[in-house]
Symmetry: C2
Subunit: 491 residues, 2 copies
C-alpha cells in the first residue's frame, strides 16, 4: 500500500513508531503494535516500525512517522512509501514463554536483548519482559546469560591489565560516598580502577553527581581511555553516550514507573557494568539496617550469596561485605556537601565514619588481591596525602580544575533539637527526602549537613542539621517536611 | 512552572500525555511517566497528565499536549499553563503488589479498574497489570471483584425481566455461528435475549461481523433498548460506543501484542458482558479437539469448572457444554458465507452440523430454565419458520433491510482433492488463515465454502472447498497457502 509520509515531529528515543489511518490498517489487516515494513519507493531503503492506529490525526493514504523511522528511511514529509504487514520479532514469543514461567535459553535471552538494543521492541513489549522477570524470577543461569548479553550488545573498555579492580554499593544510605575515596587510595598504590557510577534517580545525589561538582563525569570512551592512561583510574558516569550497557539503560526506564527491581535484572545490570570494564576483582557493599534497602543482615545475605555465585559463573572474583546502613555515612547530603566530606577525608580529616568505612573497604579490596598488612598500607597512602594527590590527578585528567572549589548555597536553615538527650535514630529516607526538596541534586550546592550521628548527646536547641538551598521556596518546603517528619529521634 | 502549550496533534485514545523539555523536567524533578498537574491560568481548570520527556522536539518553556489533555483543559496552542509535579495514582502500588504475587482486595481492584476507565494509567502501567494477572493468576475472588468492577465502571442495560438468557462460545472453531440461530429460536418462544457479540480480532469473522452482513450491529444503547422492546432480543456488537465493558476494551488492546489471555481476565471479560446486560441464565460452549483452543475435553474442563463457580459467585446460573470443535461447523467461513449458512438453517435447511448444534444449544438453554420436551419445542419453532420470522424481525429492528440479500464475491477458485479416499482431518487454523488471506472479514463476501466434512468420501479431483475473493491478488495468495499447507487430510 502506497502512503504519503507525515512528519509527526516527535521521537520515542527508542523504537520506530509509524501511525496509519484506521481504515488503511483494516485494509492491511493490521492492529495496534503489529509490525509494518516501510519501503522507500525510489531508493528501496526499508525499515520495520511498530504500527499505531489513528482515527483522526492521520488521514486515509497517510503515514505519520516519528523521528526514528524518518531517519532509518532517510525520508521527509510528502514522500511516498510502500507499506506492508510483516512478522513480529521472535523475541516476543520468548517473552511470552517467560511470562508463563518457562526458563529461557542463552540464545533466546540474547535475541531479546539484541532486539531491545536495536529498538525492535515497543515499550509495552519491554514492559512484559520486565514484568516476566519480576514475577517469574530469572534463574542464576538466565542471569548469567542476561549479563553476558548486556555486555556483548554494549560497549566494552579493553584494558591490558591482569588485575582490574571495581567496587559497587547497592545504595539506600545517604552520602556513603566511599567510592570517591577508595578509588584514589587504590589507584595511588598502582592498581587499575576504571570506575563507572550512576547518577541519582530519586536520591539527593549519585556518586556521579557528587564527582561532577569537581570534574566532568560524562566522558566519551576515548576520553576515558586517556584518563586511564594518565591516572590508572577514573570516576565517571556509566550512562549516557558511553553505551556501556545500552540494553540496561532502556530497561531501567521501563522499571521506573513501578519502581520495581526484578532481582535477576538488578544483578545483571550491576555485573554487566563491571564486566564491560574488564573487572577481575569486585567488592560489593550491601548496607543493611533501619531504613536501608535491607532491614536485617539476614535479608541482605541472600542477595550477597547470589552476587558471589554470579561472579564465579562470570569468571570474576567477587567479595560481598554487609555493612551498617542504619544512618547516613558522612555529614553532607547533596552533591557539593558530599564532595566537601570526600575532600576532607582525603586530606586526612573527618567525617570519621566515612573515613573508617573507606579504609575498611580499601583494605578488603587489597585483601582480595592478596596484599598483606592491608589496613596499614591504606593508612599510609591516605595520611601521606598520596591518595588526595591521586584524586586531584584523576579529576584534572577528566577535565576538572586544578584547584578544587565547591559551590555554596545562598540560603541556610538550622534545624534545632527540641529536647536534651541522646540521638537514637536517623531516618535515611526522610533525610534524603528533605535534601531532595532543598534542591539536590539539580542544585549542586543544595542539601543537608548533619551535625549529629547516632549515639551523640545533644542539648535542647543545639543544631541537628543545616538545610542548604538556592531558593527560599525550596528551603521553606524542606523545613516544613523536616518539622513534620522529624527525621532524628532523640531520647 | 509556567509553560506554553504546543499542540502535538496526536491522541492516545486513552491516557493524557504531556511532553516537557528535558531541562524543565529536571527543574521540576520529574522523570518519564511521572505525573504532572497542569492548570490553566485564566480559568483554573486542571488536568493530570503522564509526563514524557523530550530533548529535541519540545523546547525549554514549552509543553507538548496530546488531544486528551487539550480537551480536558479546554486550551489551544500558545496558551500558558502552570505545571507542577503530583503524586501517582495509588492503583500503581496495587499493581506492584500483584506483580509480587499478593492477592488484591475488592477496593484495590476497583481502584485499578476505575483508573483504567478514567484514563489515569499509562500503557506501560496497564501492561504491568495484565502481566501480573498472567504470571500470578487471579484467584476466583479476585476474578469476581474484577468482573464486578468492569460492570460497575461500564454501561448496563436494564431490562425488567425475571429471566434473561445469554450464551457464549470461547471460540477457535471456524463458522460455528450458532448464536445467530439460537437467539431467534429462543426469542420466538418469548424469551428475552439481549445478545452482544464480538468482532473478529484475528479470525475470518466474529459473530458481529457475520450479523453485520444482514443488519447494522453497531448500535447505541438507546437503539438497543428500542430493538429489545420490539423483538425481545438483539444480536449486536458489544464493543465500540456502547461502553458495555469499557475497562475490558482497554485491557484487550494491551493483551494483543503478546497474544496472552490471563485466565482470570478472560473469565472476567466474558462474564462482565453477561452481567452488564442482566443475564440470569448463561450457557457457555467450550469446543475442544484437534486445532481448537483446547486439545482435549480434559483441558477444557478446568476452565468449565471456573465458569460455573464464577457464575455462582456472581449470582448467575451458568451451564457449560463441552462440544466437538475438531473441524469447522457449517460450510461457509467469512461473514457473508457464514450468514448464508445461518439463513439456510433458519429456513429449515442445512448445513446439518450447524443445525444440529444450534438445536442442541437451544434445548440446553431451555433445560436451564426448566422447560420440558425442550428439543421438540425447538424443532417446532425452527421448522415452522417462526425462528426465521423472528430473525428477520430482529434484523429489521436493528436497521436491516426487509429482504435479506447477501453480497457475492467476484473471484472463485475450487481446491480439488489430489486423491480418492476419506476426509480424516480439517485443520481449523489453516482454514481460518486461508479465509483471512482471501480477504475476510474486511471483504464481507470473501472466505471459503467447504464442500466436505470429516468422514466424507471424496474422489480424485472432487472439490474440497471453494475460495471466494474480491481481488485476484488475494485469491492467489489464499490459493498458494491452501496448496502449501493442505488443510484437509484425506486417507
Amino acid at each position: 500500500m502506497k502512503l504519503k509520509v507525515i512528519d509527526v515531529n516527535l521521537s520515542t528515543g527508542g523504537s520506530a513508531i509509524a501511525i496509519i489511518n484506521e481504515n488503511d490498517a483494516k485494509k492491511l489487516g493490521i492492529h495496534a503494535s503489529d509490525r509494518i515494513l516501510i519501503r522507500r519507493l525510489r531508493t528501496g531503503k526499508a525499515a520495520i516500525a511498530v504500527a499505531d492506529i489513528s482515527s483522526e490525526h492521520i488521514h486515509l493514504g497517510e503515514i505519520g512517522l516519528f523521528e526514528e523511522p524518518l531517519k532509518l528511511l532517510g525520508v521527509e514529509k510528502g514522500v511516498h512509501v510502500d507499506v506492508m504487514p510483516c512478522e513480529r520479532p521472535r523475541s516476543i514469543q520468548y517473552i511470552s514463554a517467560k511470562l508463563e514461567g518457562k526458563e529461557l535459553s542463552k540464545n533466546q535471552i540474547y535475541e531479546i536483548v539484541t532486539d531491545i538494543v536495536e529498538n525492535h521492541l515497543s515499550e509495552v513489549e519491554m514492559t512484559y519482559f520486565v514484568a516476566a522477570c519480576y514475577s517469574n524470577r530469572l534463574s542464576i543461569k538466565e542471569t548469567v546469560y542476561l549479563t553476558n548479553a548486556i555486555v556483548d550488545t554494549g560497549t566494552r573498555i579493553n584494558i591490558n591489565k591482569k588485575v582490574i579492580l571495581d567496587k559497587h554499593c547497592v545504595g539506600g544510605v545517604p552520602n556513603n560516598r566511599t567510592t570517591l575515596i577508595v578509588v584514589p587510595i587504590l589507584a595511588a598504590m598502582g592498581y587499575t580502577m576504571p570506575k563507572t557510577s550512576s547518577r541519582s534517580i530519586t536520591s539527593p545525589a549519585g556518586t556521579a553527581d557528587t564527582m561532577e561538582v569537581i570534574a566532568p563525569v560524562s566522558l566519551s570512551l576515548e576520553k576515558i581511555k586517556e584518563v586511564l592512561a594518565k591516572a590508572n583510574a577514573c570516576m565517571v558516569w556509566g550512562g549516557g553516550n558511553m553505551n556501556l550497557a545500552a540494553a540496561d539503560d532502556k530497561l531501567i526506564r521501563i522499571r521506573h514507573p513501578m519502581s520495581i527491581d526484578p532481582e535477576g535484572m538488578l544483578l545483571a545490570s550491576i555485573m554487566a557494568k563491571k564486566k564491560a570494564v574488564g573487572a577481575t576483582h569486585c567488592l560489593i557493599d550491601i548496607p543493611y539496617g533501619y531504613m536501608a534497602k535491607f532491614p536485617t543482615k539476614q535479608a541482605a545475605s541472600s542477595l550477597a550469596a547470589k552476587f558471589v555465585k554470579l561472579g564465579r559463573m562470570l569468571g570474576m572474583k567477587v567479595k560481598v561485605v554487609m555493612t551498617d546502613g542504619s544512618q547516613p555515612i558522612g555529614n553532607g547530603i547533596g552533591p557539593a556537601l558530599e564532595a566537601y566530606d570526600v575532600v576532607n577525608v582525603l586530606k586526612g580529616e573527618g567525617p570519621n565514619d566515612l573515613r573508617e568505612k573507606s579504609i575498611f573497604l580499601a583494605s578488603e579490596m587489597l585483601g582480595m588481591v592478596g596484599e598483606k598488612n592491608a589496613r596499614q598500607k591504606v593508612l599510609e597512602v591516605l595520611d601521606s596525602g598520596k591518595a588526595y594527590a591521586k584524586f586531584r590527578k584523576i579529576a584534572v585528567a577528566q577535565g576538572g580544575r586544578k584547584h578544587i572549589k565547591l559551590p555554596k548555597a545562598r540560603y541556610f536553615f538550622d534545624v534545632l533539637s527540641e529536647k536534651q538527650g541522646t540521638v537514637k535514630q536517623i531516618n535515611n529516607k526522610v533525610i534524603a527526602r528533605i535534601a531532595s526538596l532543598a534542591g539536590a541534586p539539580e542544585d549542586k550546592a543544595a542539601g543537608i549537613y548533619l551535625r549529629v550521628h547516632c549515639g551523640g548527646k545533644v542539648r535542647k536547641e543545639s543544631v541537628l542539621f543545616t538545610i542548604h538551598s538556592q531558593s527560599k521556596l525550596k528551603l521553606d518546603t524542606a523545613r516544613q517536611i523536616a518539622s513534620e517528619f522529624g527525621p532524628i529521634t532523640i531520647k
